[in-house]
């Protein structure tokens, strides 16, 4: 039972990170019907930014939690600027082009960013400082969950609750929902669709950066390639939940996290990815629109 609980909580931790990244895929897809393959790279850039900033701050001998409080917002802002810029230069000029064109542009952007970080940094894994605080009371639960995992789950939950409220109640959130449901009509009620698209990239990138910083601090090492793996997993989560659906991305992330965690724990850790992608194949066969996704082609 304790083992089960450990796997459950481990899956929850993983799943929270997948969900954070999957939200970026699903929101962008919902608005402009593009799979932003460069999204995983934003997550990686968030982690690298945090590595550099925390390295500088550590020179001043500050405590870990204060470094985290300063590092996280900077990484988020920096990554958001990347997301904003990528949309401007790689996708906006291709608006109205056949759908394959921005997709190829996205893949190109992903390869470019990986190699840019590879050249600017190194191909080796770099140690990442443990920024997440150690909580004394978590020692009693050391067999099933440690404090950085708890911190990841709570942060992800808070961020996702904030996002849900933002989409539901704010003016920009409503504009986003309207744009994803009918872009032409959104324009006709006065929504500035260009702003909505930019904002979608900014928010998605911010969420990915939060995920990147959290997981890097938890795992303790990063390299230029982490965005690719995490990106593909999160994309799987988004499709699993129903691409275009915000609650779907959250649920898909958790389902994927648990699948991997239980498969690793009860079957074999060698098959972690096999189970993740087998799940994707099954979903695509039996419910192509995803768990919470809508059947295509509803009447207007």
């Amino acid at each position: 039972m304790e083992y089960f609980l450990e796997l459950f909580l481990g899956g929850l931790t993983r799943g929270s990170i997948y969900a954070l990244i999957a939200l970026g895929y699903t929101m962008v897809y919902g608005i402009i019907k593009l799979i932003n393959f460069a999204h995983g790279e934003i997550y990686m850039i968030g982690a690298f930014t945090a590595l550099i900033i925390s390295g500088v701050l550590a020179q001043f001998g500050l405590p870990g939690w204060s470094i985290l409080l300063m590092t996280l917002p900077i990484a988020v802002i920096y990554s958001s600027a990347y997301g904003f810029t990528i949309e401007k230069i790689a996708y906006r000029p291709l608006r109205g082009a056949p759908r394959l064109s921005p997709l190829i542009s996205a893949i190109g952007m992903s390869i470019f960013l990986q190699n840019y970080v590879l050249l600017a940094q190194t191909a080796d894994f770099l140690p990442f400082p443990a920024l997440l605080p150690e909580l004394a009371f978590m020692e009693g639960f050391s067999g099933i969950m440690n404090s950085s995992e708890l911190f990841i789950v709570l942060t992800a939950a808070a961020v996702m609750a904030g996002l849900t409220a933002y989409i539901k109640y704010t003016r920009m959130g409503k504009a986003m929902r309207a744009t994803s449901q009918n872009q032409r009509m959104a324009m006709l009620v006065g929504v500035n669709v260009d702003n909505v698209i930019s904002m979608t990239f900014v928010i998605g990138s911010a969420l990915a950066a939060v995920g990147g910083v959290l997981i890097a601090s938890h795992v303790g090492q990063i390299n230029f390639y982490i965005g690719f793996i995490a990106g593909i997993k999160a994309f799987t989560a988004a499709v699993l939940g129903g691409i275009g659906s915000v609650p779907g991305a959250m649920l898909g992330g958790l389902v994927l996290g648990w699948t991997e965690s239980f498969a690793t724990g009860y079957v074999s850790s060698d098959y972690e990815d096999v189970f993740a992608f087998a799940l994707l194949v099954l979903i695509l066969i039996f419910r192509p629109s995803g768990i919470l996704g809508k059947e295509e082609g509803h009447k207007v």
């Binding site: 003016r171 409503k174 504009a175 929902r177 309207a178 449901q181 009918n182 032409r184 009509m185 959104a186 324009m187 006709l188 009620v189 006065g190 929504v191 500035n192 669709v193 509803h298 009447k299 207007v300």
Partner: protein, 235 residues
């Protein structure tokens, strides 16, 4: 209020509108009638900036709005109820109305206008928490018009509001259009295939054929015009 001067427009290499001249004065109801594919919808798209005019000019209160982004044109008081209604299917009726008032900041006025449209169409009040996509065609048209009222436009563009509706609902919709025009002085530019109904409520009308305006006259004279009768009124 609105003036189209020698407008040419089209999609890609395909020209649709040629030398279109239309003038709509403040407070008028003007109708544009014509067969399917004549270019009526394209005319409205050009006014809203969703289709670029290749040449000519579109003036709103004497100011050129050619080339402005759609949201700027909406901000200037132009509102369109597009063909096919384009309700936001997953937003509730209330949220759809809120989107209509997207450019407004006066919470109190928005609330009053919501009450006003709920009085106008009590069925929408009953369904205020229902998703827009679950409404019937007639209810969606009522919602589309209500959403436009929520914008408090100075110029309201309507694209075939009678399309696909039962005769009783059509009459109700046309009554409301007249009411909007009388009560709030909203200028109305109505595109219709249902020429008979449209000309009955309009001050003046334009007839469009293959992207060209062929006839323009006072609405009652168009109703009596032999050519128009034969081609569009089915008599």
């Amino acid at each position: 209020m609105l003036k189209l001067v020698d407008v040419h427009a089209g999609y890609g290499a395909i020209p649709v509108l040629r030398d279109v001249n239309i003038e709509v004065n403040e407070g008028e109801i003007i109708t544009l009638i014509g067969a399917n594919g004549a270019g009526k919808t394209t005319t409205l798209m050009a006014i809203c900036g969703l289709v670029r005019a290749r040449s000519g000019d579109i003036l709103l209160e004497g100011e050129s709005i050619c080339g402005l982004p759609t949201n700027r044109i909406v901000e200037m008081g132009v509102c369109q109820v597009p063909e096919g209604r384009l309700i936001f299917p997953d937003l509730t009726v209330t949220e759809n109305l809120d989107m209509g008032a997207f450019m407004r900041r006066d919470r109190k006025g928005i609330h009053e206008d919501a009450e006003y449209v709920f009085n106008l169409f009590p069925i929408l009040a009953d369904r205020r928490h229902q998703a827009g996509g679950t409404l019937s065609g007639g209810e969606q048209q009522m919602l589309a018009i209500s959403r436009a009222i929520m914008a408090r436009p100075r110029l309201l563009l309507l694209d075939e509001p009678s399309l696909g509706l039962a005769p009783l609902v059509i009459r109700q919709i046309f009554d409301i259009i007249v009411k909007i025009n009388r009560e709030s002085g909203t200028t109305i530019f109505l595109v219709e295939q249902n020429a008979n109904q449209a000309l009955k409520i309009a001050n003046r009308g334009y007839v469009m054929e293959n992207g060209v305006i062929t006839v323009t006259d006072a609405a009652d004279r168009l109703l009596a015009n032999e050519d128009v009768k034969k081609a569009y009124l089915g008599i």
